[in-house]
């Protein structure tokens, strides 16, 4: 099948497919006699796998590593499990950071709600921050 059909099947754009190829996530596909890229169901599976992995928040570089292991006939399971664990930690850390930031902003805002705008110190840029 041609790139457009593969794109529709995987629910992405042809631009994205070419980008994935150039980024090393897809092997260079076969070509028809007129030079068009030629894909099969395995290609579409691969594209759908990439989508699922992205759903898990994995970066393309990580997904590329998984696919590369798979292509070299290693079973990537252990690697994937470890990656998911690291992903969980990273998420927990990021969520923690954002919650800390939220607390800071909430504090600023509490000050803001109490402040009288008419009492702003003209020598400061903003008494709220």
């Amino acid at each position: 099948m041609r790139i457009g059909e593969a794109a529709t099947a995987a629910n992405i754009t042809t631009k994205t497919i070419r980008f994935y190829e150039q980024a090393g996530l897809l092997p260079p596909p076969g070509r028809t006699t007129n030079g068009y890229r030629s894909y099969n169901e395995i290609s579409v599976n691969r594209l759908q796998f990439i989508r699922r992995a992205q759903t898990a928040g994995l970066a393309l570089a990580q997904i590329r590593d998984i696919l590369r292991m798979r292509d070299e006939n290693h079973t990537p399971c252990a690697h994937v499990a470890e990656m998911l664990t690291r992903q969980l930690s990273a998420l927990d850390q990021r969520i923690g950071e954002l919650q800390a930031l939220r607390a800071t902003v909430a504090e600023f805002q509490a000050t803001a709600l109490e402040a009288d705008p008419n009492k702003c110190d003209p020598n400061r840029i903003c008494s709220l921050l």
Copy 2:
């Protein structure tokens, strides 16, 4: 004072100061006869304000708006308070998204911990994803 001293005082780099100037957060400074940028305490205060506003998670574009209001002699308090409120909503939404993503990843990981690596379906890229 010259740019290096201002940078040290505000705990940033000279590169960053020039970048802020070019981004419209700092007015073009005075110059000494030899062309060096010349700053004073007000400049340093402004730089420190930018830092504080960044601590509150505001983007440079938002900070620039606050500074611009201030420069036009409007009191930016109300604007800032509203911005902080919006910032809180944005943070809450982002935290929610990350928590949803965390749940997804945790689910994938639970599957991973249960799975027997020897039972991987060789026709799939990875049975965990």
